[in-house]
Symmetry: C2
Subunit: 312 residues, 2 copies
């Protein structure tokens, strides 16, 4: 095919160390988590969600949050992100020296109650109260709106609910807002509509977060990018899944998203070969095949041939 | 999210019995193949690529082509399709009573040589010679252009090559033309561009054929439909892969495509629950997990809730 027209660059945010590992059957030690973060940066990723500062009883896989951060804080080229659900988490994240705090609110009340112990509205109010502390500390503050495209308990989530959350958060000026399809039910049409509406309602940068539960992850990433999103959550190997969301499966795989974006004309800054290497390494560390497909299929074109894309 | 606007209906063409089984590690007996065809029809599929009339030495999995056709020919609700690569295959397909003959030509010479023993141009000339016999016999004739988006041996395939094939086939008025991403390298932007160009160059109906090799199968189906395609090849469970294409993996899964299309506002006529049942049944018969994801994840919304899509 002809070389695609150049699109805007798109930044990948590596969430494997957090979303990928928080519920994985294999428990990785601190050293492997540090290696995962550093491999992501070496492949060209700038922002990495290093860990979450959550209750270690509820999320034992990430109980070593401070230990991981102590290793990687200040690593050259790394913008470290810590996920936070409440004030206790924020205190820990700031003390650990994260460069960016990512708050989470959930668009449906039932899931919000299970995820953070309160319905959506009080959870949003808490973020409004806490987020200015991040800016006061000179760090970046982003917010992910989870279950935007559907709730495992309530079913459909009206877009109006999402827009009310976005509107309420506007008062504290988050640097970035993400819509997350936590349980992997979205289709590209709904994704485009949601991000277009959110884009009109906020001055924040936009990020997307998709799971490939129903084989639509990459399609949804491309729809989000077409609607103006310039940052994409992805996990090396496509591992992942929320412990409180029944049926949730892996995030979109970093290497799969790099292939899809680069071949569609978007520069990501991430080297596909290195991303594939990372997925294969992670598969070895976890002792399990990862769901991402590029580490099996390889890139394209292959075998190496002279670039014929301009020969037609 | 809000209910999507209704889009045009899209027909699924079940290719599992042919593309799904032709290279599968498990050899299915004739009775299981017949059951697969009948399950597809029972789920709401009308057109089924029942088998190929190819050399049984090269494609031993489908050596029982005549036996399968003898069982299902005339089944109510079924439009049976037989894949054909040459004159010998056409003779067999017509004798076996298929309702539709699907010819294949390959867009790159090297792959065409391996797939059917001659480069693209003489293969196209042969289809031009043979296709009128299908119409003379009162059957439907379609042509699939394979390796449209990339060749495993040559790399990139210029769109001009595909358009020259489409133009050459115009003389014999195929009822339908399909573009096939045989090795799963396409991205939605290239798919939209190719089908838009082909649509302008032919009066034939358009069909698409995607493999999910790099996790872009569903994205590409939706891009093809947005560009005017109204028929989509898919295989129950997402099984499949071409024996002559290194690295090829499964077709897009019928149940995954039904979910993606129906949730995007396109009627397919296929019942998602029945399609999922079929994938689980096939998984049992093959003794292996199938790559399609809907049979693991289930549909949405769940659990069954009152339709809240119009409540927002």
């Amino acid at each position: 095919m002809s070389r695609p027209p150049a699109g805007p660059p798109v930044e990948l945010v590596e969430v494997g160390p957090r979303d990928g590992l928080q519920n994985h059957p294999t428990h990785l030690g601190t050293a492997d988590k540090v290696a995962l973060v550093r491999r992501a940066v070496a492949a060209g990723t700038r922002r990495v969600e290093v860990t979450s500062f959550t209750n270690p009883v509820k999320v034992p896989r990430l109980a070593d949050a401070e230990a991981v951060m102590a290793e990687v804080a200040g690593d050259p080229g790394l913008v470290s992100i810590g996920l936070v659900l409440n004030e206790r988490g924020l205190d820990r994240a700031l003390a650990a020296g994260v460069d960016e705090v990512n708050f989470v609110v959930v668009a449906s009340d039932t899931f919000s109650l299970r995820n953070q112990g309160k319905p959506t509205e009080p959870a949003v109010a808490e973020v409004r109260r806490l987020l200015p502390r991040v800016h006061d500390a000179g760090r970046r503050a982003s917010v992910t709106v989870a279950a935007t495209f559907g709730c495992p308990f309530e079913g459909e989530v009206p877009l109006d609910r999402v827009l009310r959350i976005v509107d309420a958060l506007g008062a504290v000026n988050p640097d970035e807002l993400a819509l997350a399809d936590t349980i992997g039910v979205a289709v590209p049409g709904a994704v485009g509509a949601a991000f277009t509406a959110v884009r009109a309602a906020t001055g924040a940068d936009l990020r997307c977060h998709f799971h490939n539960t129903r084989n639509l992850g990459t399609a949804n990433v491309l729809a989000a990018v077409a609607a103006g999103v310039r940052a994409v959550d992805a996990s090396i190997g496509g591992i992942g899944g929320c412990p409180f969301a029944p049926g949730a499966t892996g995030n979109v795989a970093t290497e799969d998203v790099v292939y899809a974006l680069e071949r569609s004309g978007h520069r990501t800054g991430v080297a596909l070969d290195a991303a594939i290497d990372n997925a294969r390494w992670l598969s070895g560390v976890l002792g399990a095949e990862v769901p991402g497909l590029l580490s099996r299929a390889g890139g394209f074109p292959y075998p190496a041939v002279p670039d014929r894309r301009e020969a037609a």
